[in-house]
């Protein structure tokens, strides 16, 4: 089974860019049956979906309205990883950030459930502070 390993800083200054990487082992980032998501969790906002990237003959990315315009999620096939880049951060972006793989196969419907995350990274606690 695939595993996800996150890396990146735990402290980011306001107005700077938060960059996190999620290294994938046991599966290709270019899989045609899954997608790679970023989710964050904070006491004030709970669990919040940030976006995803996935490959279906070409690369796609979707983003949450709450971070659209500030966020880029992209894959690096040479490293078999995907990353999150959130710019112009404020203290409101302080949270635990998780990467996750979406796309669990439902045998009953012979389809993949995109919002079912069966594999998660270990989480990165990021504080935005000067």
């Amino acid at each position: 089974q695939a595993q996800l390993r996150q890396s990146g800083p735990s402290l980011v200054k306001p107005s700077q860019t938060l960059s996190l990487a999620c290294d994938i082992s046991g599966e290709s980032v270019s899989t045609m049956t899954g997608a790679w998501h970023w989710v964050r969790q904070s006491p004030s906002r709970g669990l919040e979906w940030l976006g995803r990237t996935f490959y279906r003959a070409k690369w796609y990315a979707d983003y949450a309205d709450s971070v659209r315009g500030r966020v880029i999620i992209k894959a690096d096939t040479s490293k078999n990883e995907f990353s999150l880049h959130l710019n112009a951060v404020t203290p409101e972006d302080t949270a635990v950030y998780y990467c996750a793989k979406g796309g669990v196969y439902d045998a009953a419907t012979k389809s993949f459930v995109g919002h079912a995350y069966d594999i998660w990274g270990q989480g990165t606690r990021v504080t935005v502070s000067s």
């Binding site: 998501h37 989710v39 709970g46 669990l47 919040e48 979906w49 979707d62 949450a64 309205d65 659209r68 998780y98 996750a100 669990v104 439902d106 009953a108 419907t109 459930v113 995109g114 919002h115 079912a116 995350y117 069966d118 998660w120 990274g121 270990q122 989480g123």
Partner: protein, 111 residues
Amino acid sequence: QSILTQPLSVSGTPGQRVTISCSGGSSNIGSFTVTWYQQFPGTAPKLLIFADDQRPAGVPDRFSGSRSGTSASLAISGLQSEDEADYFCATWEDAQNAHVLFGGGTKLTVL
């Protein structure tokens, strides 16, 4: 405030059956299947139920899910002390830009 509404807390005694509700709308739960996650402090959420009522391998059959209309439920029977955790529902939201929605979470206390 989450669009998917869950009770803040539920409790039960060992052996009891408890249910956790997740209420949404026509553009989310009313249109898409529901996923449930279990989370212990300091750890990532764990997939508990997907496609409304399917359990991944390794999840005990004490955990079951259902969906009707714009609401979903997670039931835990034969409650055990190790079930004490936070539980979250999730689904797609199709209004405007499609995205994943999470419920606010429910803290389960085993008395």
